[in-house]
Symmetry: C2
Subunit: 255 residues, 2 copies
């Protein structure tokens, strides 16, 4: 896991313990551990927070409580405030993705980074926003911008997490006991199928035969079969052409 | 708002109405409206779903219920299944970001797109996954991959939303009644400040004067002041150098 010790989430006057727990869960999903609470309305520690964190107790138990936003950010070097889009103040404004990049760059040079989130009902007040270096606004459906606190924390945390995530954007996953078929195995499959189709008269019209074979081969190629699947396919062909008599054993034989 | 009529969210056997409501909220945050429910455990309609959707009633009220996953996806052309990373099946696997791009491309050619999400306790079963064209796995902290249903829907929906979002990644926002200071206004400010500092003897050491002036000008330039802020700043300088006598009026004069 990435070292995210330099990233702090600060909830200013959060109202519901349950939301604090869900914030902790979203943070820890993204490998972020440092949670700071400024005057949580219902006190701290909080049983609803523990119940809602769904296993992210590592974050909830280590959360620290502060009496003011100033206290909570005193040791941080770069602080962003999450807000709805507004022009009340002259302030740099980031999208979550751009904010994550900016924070990652600063964290990489050893600076302590934090993001401020306001209370569920009304967000951050302007005095807290004034303390921050810049704001973050999540772009959303303009007809419906009401984002749950934990959802806001998740979106920003996930953008941060993604910057170091090594996942391959697209891959063909497969079980360990198989591998992609090679082209010889596929050619044998094509020939097997075409032979049986010839036997049954499916490819009888001579001038259409090459076109139909191309369509069939193309369709099968696109399936990106494993060598195991090629064997299943050939088993199906063999089964379909067989004249089965009452009493014959079933022939499902995947190995 | 983007036309997202081609994007469907399918919840297979969701357990809690509250989670369905939170899914609806996350969808509508991202402009997605078509919610399909396969055998919701506690029935439908659901009062907890209505209560939890926080204003996304447009999604909850229009949700449709199906008896099987096959029924729910019958009219769709491309279906992705959300899963934990697994190699049980040979299947293309996307990250949410790559999946959103793939879906957007297909939606752009008129195809109907859907994403399957399994029940909260155990996810999708393999028979449902087998019906899908590919899987999506959200990369997360390997120590804690338990993602709430609505959080999973949000992350994928947000990646979809972002692809057409026009937000500027970074901008200096400011109130409508001001504008960035021009360089002449800033030069007058610098000269005003340097004049007063000279008067007080702050820049007395001749060989250090140019360096100090450069540092001060650089610091002030970085603040990206508005013309209003330049006036506030010059007002502060004027105030600081004034000899105030008892009884003088206060001179805060922001206009």
């Amino acid at each position: 896991m990435t070292d995210t010790s330099s990233f702090s989430v600060i909830l200013v006057e959060p109202q519901l313990g349950e939301n604090i727990g869900m914030v902790a869960r979203a943070m820890w999903n993204c490998g972020i551990r440092d949670l700071r609470l400024v005057n949580p309305r219902d006190g701290w520690p909080s049983q609803p927070a523990r119940a809602a964190c769904s296993g992210a107790g590592i974050v909830v138990e280590a959360a620290r409580v502060y009496e003011s936003t100033s206290d909570a950010i005193a040791d941080l070097n770069f602080v962003l405030a999450t807000t709805a889009r507004s022009r009340d103040m002259t302030k740099p404004a980031f999208t979550p993705e751009a904010a994550a990049k900016e924070m990652k760059g600063r964290a990489g040079t050893g600076h302590n980074i934090g993001v401020l989130y306001g209370k569920e009902s009304s967000g951050l007040d302007n005095d807290d926003i004034a303390l921050a270096d810049a704001t973050i606004t999540v772009p959303l459906n303009p007809e419906f911008t009401s984002l749950n606190l934990a959802q806001a924390v998740l979106l920003l945390s996930y953008e941060w997490f993604k910057l170091e995530d090594q996942s391959v954007p697209y891959e063909l996953q497969m079980p360990d006991d198989t591998r992609p078929a090679n082209k010889q195995e596929l050619l044998w499959l094509y020939e097997h199928l075409e032979q049986e189709l010839d036997n049954k008269g499916f490819l009888m019209v001579t001038e259409k035969r090459p076109i139909m074979i191309r369509k069939i081969r193309n369709m099968l190629a696109r399936a990106q079969m494993t060598e195991q699947e090629v064997r299943i396919y050939r088993g199906m062909i063999a089964s379909l052409v067989r004249t089965r008599r009452p009493g014959d054993p079933a022939d499902i034989s995947e190995d």
